[in-house]
Amino acid sequence: MKPEGINRRYVLRAALAAPVILGGPARAAGTIQMISHRYPALEHYAEVMRGAVPGVTVNTQLMPIDKAMELATIALSSKSDTPDIVYASDTTFQTFVRNGWFRPVDDLWAKYKDEFKLDDFPDSVLAPFRHDGQLYVMPHTLNTMMFFYRKDLFDQQGKAPPTTIAEYRDLAKSFNSPMRAGTISCLKPVDAATNEAHWYLNALGDGWFDNDWRPSFNTAKSVAAIEMLKEVTKYAQQGFTAAANDECTIALQQDTATMGLQWATRAKSMDDPNKSRILGKIDWVKPPQGHGRMGGDGYAISAFSKQDPDVLFRIIATSAGQKSLRDAASLMIPPRKSVLDDPDLVKANRFYPAALASYESGTRAPSLPEFNAIGEFVTRRILQGVTGEMTVKQAMDTAASETETFLKGHGYYK
């Protein structure tokens, strides 16, 4: 008998059977896809989103910020209809909005203003999420970098928290030992290194850019600021060049570092008995000389989503509702006035006074849609300066030249 091979009839049968075997559309109807950065407060919001609208399944994917932004970029640049809800920070959302990847939410905001008490968000909190007058993001957290320090160790040695970066360097040196680093330093490109450089550049240098978006991070003052950063890293924990917020938080929690700059959203975890070995030993003050990075984040709706925008808005608004924010108040600085001003919450969260002081003395990242892209090469050059692969001056000049070329290609400096 002739063995049966692959013939036209076989191929046709297989083609007809494929949709049945593969199960038709890839997405189950009603399943909403959400991509987000991950830290404790955002984990809480993801949980609220999953149960926000009865009968609607929300699939939440949480990951470190660089990965989340890359994934969202890949999906939205190809006009994919997933994800539906996307994490956005005050710096990342601008690129997305300019490319038309986010949907403005002003109409939905007006429609649901009373139901979700949206007047509770102060204008100053909404302003960073507007582009050309339109609102794109519902804020979920206000965040600021605070100075974390080991109060028990400082008290033992009769030392006070630093008020200048030079004092901070000297304290880091005095506390540094093989088993416990003098300070944390988080220089993993891009996000973490940008945050740390932001503090030095704004507190000691001339900041990132001048008024014409020309780099000012390579002026003499700014180079000296990065030299100071380099000096401080002599007393930093091992692996600081590859450390992001997670690694730095762990270094403090596991008693392998004494102090350093970290986000307010990480403060509560210092007192978490499941994660920390230093319960009650950390205290917080505003960053020496101020100018720690401040910002905020929230969630936006994809312009390509095929889901009902009302449902998506309800999910986002529920997770940023008064109850949800009150439940998460220990994990961040709440963006709603009613929650932020609640005296009970201020009393219950001992990091609040330092967080508010840090917020008041903080500096936002430049409102430049290209800021994150620029951060890619600037932070790598800073690291080359810090690790001695080139001098700091060479590193900052190279980064400035690359930045100018990049921005010129994007229509700046006409």
Binding site: G239, E370, A373
Partner: protein, 268 residues
């Protein structure tokens, strides 16, 4: 296969920038810009260094272990299976646990060294050590492939040649270098070519271990391509770099094969 390649070629001729939204045709502009880009040349040089170190180490180790297995009279199958395990682990998963082995302070290696009273170097944070670590990581994962292919090759060498050499008094090493290696030269070129092509695409392990850092210390050409596409959002330029990488690897492998082919007609 031709469609993605053709599409990448087309994109490489555009100023396709997701950040600015532009998609204008600029001919060879991306290639010109890249060839004048100091970071590209530094990355290429670094990639060649990492690839040659990794493949060289894998070949030497692979050959030694394969020859050891060849001479072993028992347990070869079991050992072969065990040795091959690292090669079947997904690279990202392998890199993740290698990261926990090499990570500073609380990593396995650092922990052991501290336990013995030695303060360890910063394996992933120091530029020189980071390069060594990524080479070791690649060697750990791909030496088994070398072992498998070389061991199979050694077993194909004509037994009468080996016996004749032994009668003439050839020792263990002379047998390996004078009889067996020349006999499997085409296979060696094949396995080196495959590994070189593969190693030039070295991405996942470095991405997880060091992210190309510190600075650009372990940034290979594929990581730079990734940064161009997904961080700087310059898709056209990233495609141009992909095409340049393809050409570079093709020329490298073709040269290698040509040299051997000239010396020994019929190698391929």
């Amino acid at each position: 296969m031709l469609f993605p390649l053709g599409y990448a070629l087309w994109l490489s001729l555009l100023n396709y920038d997701l950040g600015s939204g532009s998609q204008e045709f600029i001919g060879l502009g991306n290639y010109r810009e890249l060839l004048n880009d100091a970071r590209l040349w530094a990355t290429l040089l670094r990639t060649v260094g990492i690839v040659l170190s990794a493949v060289g180490l894998e070949f030497c180790l692979g050959l030694l272990i394969a020859y050891g297995l060849y001479r072993l009279t028992f347990g070869v199958r079991a050992l072969n299976l065990l040795l091959f395990l690292p090669n079947i682990v997904t690279p990202v998963v392998a890199a993740l646990f290698l990261r926990w082995i090499f990570i500073g302070r609380w990593g396995l290696v650092s922990g052991l060294l501290i336990g013995w009273g030695i303060f360890p170097p910063d394996f992933l944070g120091d530029p020189a050590w980071a390069r060594v670590t990524v080479v070791l990581a690649d060697a750990w994962q791909f030496t088994p492939f070398m072992i498998l292919v070389l061991y199979a090759g050694l077993n194909t060498v004509d037994q009468s040649q080996i016996e004749a050499a032994q009668i003439d008094g050839a020792g263990v090493w002379m047998l390996l270098f004078r009889i067996m290696l020349p006999a499997i030269r085409p296979l060696i070129v094949f396995v080196l070519a495959i590994r070189l092509m593969d190693a030039f695409r070295f991405f996942d392990t470095i991405y997880v271990l060091t992210g190309g850092g510190p600075g650009t210390a372990t940034e290979t050409i594929t990581l730079y391509t990734y940064a161009l596409a997904f961080r700087l959002l310059q898709v056209g330029k990233a495609c141009a770099l992909g095409v340049l990488t393809l050409l570079f690897v093709a020329v490298l492998v073709a040269t290698m094969i040509r040299i051997v082919y000239r010396r020994e007609k019929g190698a391929f």
